[in-house]
Symmetry: C2
Subunit: 673 residues, 2 copies
């Protein structure tokens, strides 16, 4: 029932926002940071674990390479953050990598980036939620049978939060993000202080040896292992560009504020990643993908999981896993992981809206809902992420393999685009200071492009067989889809461009009133049709049953109806075909004429009442729309039950819910030309 759904909608979404309130939902930096950066700020903690996990495939021997791998990730992170500071200032419209690539490298490059970003946003939601639920299930194993349901529940929750609007979700999500960052920083300080004081933390797994899955690695194989560790560590960079896509949500000066937020995020990320990795190595966390590779693992390695690296470090630093601070950090970590998905809920609809404006995605993604957000984009994202989680049984381990390829595709193309951008800027720069600034910026972006390009190749090679191939399929498919949509819109727009012929009036109007029985709706339709003064007016009926038709003719005579009744024969008891033929014939005789088909309809108040009345009018209307030179006129007759329904609707409509009682419509504010 519409009344219930609209009440529910208001309960979930709150009141609708007026368009002129758009300015008020802009974000201050202290809220923009947690909204756009919860994903990158969490993923640094995950990155350490991923690096250790790959290196220990070769046993403990290669753990000494971890600092070098981590250093490479830090350098990469720094380069990317510096590169993107240039992007947000040069392109503050929120197009981010997509806009940079399109403008500087052309449409195709832009669309590849767009496809990569869309894929990665979806994966961010799926992976973050799945990993968060993993954490919860590690704590409460009884929930394991409901894994997928819990995942989907969180997605529904996030969708509802985001449908309410960006600012409120910002406030909600700021707390756990800051709580988590502060917690990690305290842990790092305490841990390093203990180390300097000669009492370094010792992890619970420090004493465990690891059974290598790959032995005697040398030369190329070793290099491949290190590269795989590096590309796994690159998860630290996921979401790094969310800020560049969210610039329009910042307060003015948008570009500068975004660049500063970017820098804050970069500084925090590097600090946290370095600190956690250092502490993990100091406290000798020995982490294996498969617990059965751990020699001396306490518990059943088949069913029990090893605790996450961040959990082990926290336990080691704070002295055991029963301290308040340990629980605090674990709770914040679990929470931020679910909320990291929110980054994508901000980025995806914005990008979708930009792509829709450029006519690469359906127009609906460009429309703001009544809370001023892009509701269709939010719902689309939630639906696809939900499907992915369902298809992958909510397994974060399997979903994460699809990740990162998209991230680095867009990094590389974006930086390459920036190089071109600076080349063009250089041509118009006047002062030497300006030229120096541009030269410096170009070097940063050129280095960024090369570096991320190499990483993209590394990631593709090392992760292809582990699932990345799916993304390698998905991006071109999206690319083709967006091109096709664009072509469609272009074709339609071109077809519909007004020309001299479009305003030529028809020479004559033939009114046909569709009749099955003689009742009020029919008589009203005839009266209305007469009021439009057509050149000809005919009531028309299809003879499906001789007795009925005969009765109709008799009634017609009795009531002296002021229109001739024409009977179309229909040997196969169809309604649509004989009518369409009749209309075609009329038009064939004089193609400049217009046929106006009046269809009397009754409007019922309850959905089930529709079941009791034939739907042939609807089918007929749909079919007639395919005929050129035909107008279809619905002449409704409101049954009494429908009046009640309209009243119900009014009572529960947003404008009136706030006032609590049905109101007469306010005077119309209209401006006429």
């Amino acid at each position: 029932m519409p009344s219930v759904t609209s009440i529910l909608k208001r309960l979930v979404l709150g009141r609708p926002f007026r368009s002129d309130k758009l300015g008020e939902t802009l974000l201050p930096k202290r809220l923009a940071l947690p909204i756009f950066a919860s994903d990158p700020l969490y993923s640094v903690t995950y990155a350490t674990q991923e690096i250790l996990l790959i290196l220990t495939l070769g046993g403990l021997t290669f753990l000494h390479l971890a600092p070098w791998v981590a250093l490479a990730v830090v350098v990469l992170l720094t380069v990317v953050v510096l590169s993107y500071r240039q992007v947000v200032q040069a392109y503050p419209s929120g197009g981010g990598s997509y806009e940079v690539a399109s403008r500087n490298l052309g449409r195709p490059a832009g669309l590849v980036v767009a496809g990569a970003l869309l894929v990665d946003y979806i994966l961010t939601v799926a992976v973050s939620v799945a990993a968060g639920v993993d954490n919860i299930i590690s704590a409460i194993p009884e929930l394991n049978p409901y894994r997928v349901a819990i995942n989907l529940g969180f997605i529904v929750f996030l969708t509802a939060m985001n449908l309410r609007g960006v600012r409120e979700s910002g406030r909600t999500f700021a707390i756990p993000t800051y709580a988590f960052v502060v917690g990690v920083l305290i842990m790092i300080v305490v841990g390093l202080a203990r180390t300097l004081g000669g009492n370094p933390p010792v992890a619970e797994s420090a004493a465990l040896d690891i059974h290598p899955e790959q032995t005697g690695l040398t030369g190329l194989a070793l290099a491949f292992l290190v590269l795989r560790a590096f590309s796994s560590g690159c998860t630290a960079l996921t979401g790094a560009e969310a800020i560049s896509n969210g610039v329009p949500a910042f307060r003015t000066p948008k570009g500068l504020n975004a660049a500063r937020t970017m820098l804050a995020m970069g500084a925090l990320s590097v600090t946290m990643f370095t600190g956690i990795t250092a502490l993990a190595l100091i406290s000798q966390v020995h982490f294996a993908e498969n617990p059965c590779d751990l020699i001396g693992f306490p518990g059943n390695c088949e069913t029990d999981a090893q605790r996450t690296v961040i959990a082990q470090v926290a336990a080691a630093v704070f002295g055991g896993d029963h301290t308040v601070f340990f629980y605090y950090l674990q709770a914040a970590a679990a929470l931020i992981l679910i909320l990291a998905a929110n980054t994508a809920f901000n980025g995806f609809p914005l990008l979708g809206s930009i792509l829709a404006q450029d006519r690469f995605l359906p127009r609906q993604l460009h429309t703001r809902g009544d809370r001023l957000n892009f509701s269709n984009g939010i719902i689309l994202l939630a639906a696809i992420a939900g499907l992915l989680i369902y298809a992958f049984d909510g397994s974060a381990t399997r979903l994460i393999q699809l990740y990162i390829v998209g991230v680095f595709t867009s990094f590389t193309l974006c930086q390459a685009g920036m190089v071109r951008h600076w080349n063009r800027e250089l041509a118009t720069a006047d002062t030497p200071a300006e030229r120096r600034r541009i030269h410096r910026a170009r070097v940063i972006n050129a280095f960024g492009a090369c570096f991320t390009g190499v990483v993209l190749v590394v990631v593709l090679i090392t992760k292809f067989a582990h699932g990345a191939y799916l993304v390698v399929i998905a991006i071109p498919v999206l690319y083709g889809l967006m091109r096709a949509i664009h072509r469609h819109y272009d074709r339609v727009r071109e077809e519909l461009l007004p020309d001299a012929d479009s305003s030529v009036p028809p020479s004559r109007v033939h009114a046909l009133v569709l009749t099955s029985t003689l009742h009020k709706p029919t008589l009203r339709a005839i009266a209305f049709a007469r009021a439009t003064r057509p050149d000809t007016l005919t009531a028309i009926t299809v003879n499906v049953d001789d007795a009925d038709t005969h009765a109709l003719r008799r009634q017609w005579e009795q009531h002296h109806v002021k229109a001739p009744l024409k009977v179309l024969e229909s040997p196969y008891r169809e309604i649509t075909r004989p009518l369409v033929r009749y209309v075609k014939n009329l038009r064939r005789e004089s193609p400049r004429d217009v046929v106006c088909v009046y269809i009397p309809e009754y409007v019922v108040g309850h959905w089930w009442e529709n079941l009791l009345h034939n739907q042939s009018a609807l089918r007929l209307k749909t079919r007639l729309l395919f005929e050129p030179g035909v107008m279809v006129v619905s002449v409704p007759w409101q049954l009494r039950s429908s009046a009640r329904r309209v009243q119900q609707r009014l009572i529960t409509s947003p404008g009136d819910v706030r006032r609590g009682i049905p109101q007469p419509p306010p005077p119309q504010r209209t401006t006429s030309e």
Copy 2:
């Protein structure tokens, strides 16, 4: 895609039939018998088993009561057949029990009968198919996991057969029915001949003793057991009245032909039932519901089932279960059981059509499909029966408990109605011979009414807890539903009766053309609207985005459009609400005016193209229909892709499929008044 579906439809259904071919699908008696009587002809064999099964709950002691129980069933069967011979002749319109009860006992009684019959038709399909599949699964136990799927498969098959039309399905179904009847008759003759010759058949279970579930039965308890056996034996009567509901499908003289077919069915049923019961008792078939009650049962009584009574008798008569004749009879039995469901596929849609004509069921059930059958009724029956089978896991044993209550409800009310019918006839009868005939008929029907009424009470008491209570709920629910539907139609009809006011023309017509951008569809809509010479003509747009609205105004000036553009403000970015308010205001100023809203639409050729265009026009149209005094005019603009679709449709439409190539429409056969 419509093209594929219409091809599929033609493949399944065959060519459409012209209305004037209706006469040709009438049935000769030799086809009417198997079509309407496959259910009662099979159920007699089942009845014997049901009787034995209940009696042996008390051990072998009470088997001597079996002939008396069987005799009661034979008497009942005779009475019912004789009673219904009167019905088909007095009411040859096919209304059967429903018509008799309505006309003579009033609407409520008629509706109770109708509800009972509808329920029993559905159960006939469910039980027969389920029992048939049981037989198949007894032969091939590997199919057991697919029980429900096989059941549903048969229902789909029967549905398709019946959608093709009644005559062809008659021919198909006649063969197994006759094969089965002939087989049983041969078996009875051979079996009795062997008995007379001093070499009576001996069943495989003759040597088995039965462990009684209920011991020391005397007095009331014994009476209850006998009554339960009797009411189980009454399954022999299910479907007996199908002929009375199918009279219109007979050739003329319909009543007489139906009465003769009824008599043939009765004679065959009594012969078969008596013969099978006699042979079962002679060959000492010992049958228990639970094989573990059989002392000395060969095989595992937990998993293996005892063979059906008819199978045991056949094996005994023909000397073992490897004779050709044994297999022949088993195959025919399995086949006829599935096809017995067909009785209901003929009866249900006919009854549904009659009820729809009397406005107790939705009108759609009254329309004949393009094969001249009541396709909607067939599909409805199949759907509900499928649901029942799904809900009961395809278990015939559980479904059969719901049966029989409905049958005897309609028997009783129908016979009582016939008594009244004769009373009325008596008042107008002239000759003494006529009066004698009526007196005789009245005695038969009065006896029938009492007898079946008593049986109804017995069945209700003995089967209530075993599932019959569900039917006791379902019949009143159906009754209420039919009353509600009738009230709805009555209310609507009364509301729509033409009165003096209906033909009054509106005083003025205001044309509003809905505009979002200035393209060909908009211009055409304006040109068309101008052609209807409205009193006022305004192009109207809703300001959702200031920039878009501004652009629209500029275009408007550039193109010198011949209509003023009015902009409605919409602070909450809605389209529908401001427009509806504007229309309401127009109408408030002068309520006798009519507002004509022109909506330019583009018509696309592919369903997916709809996803790329906003659906707000559709929502708007639906909402505007609720406003009094508003006409909604769709002015379609056919995109090029839509033209292709219409062509495709034409190619695959029924009329043209037969000729193989698309044809220009033939000259229209129309008659005008």
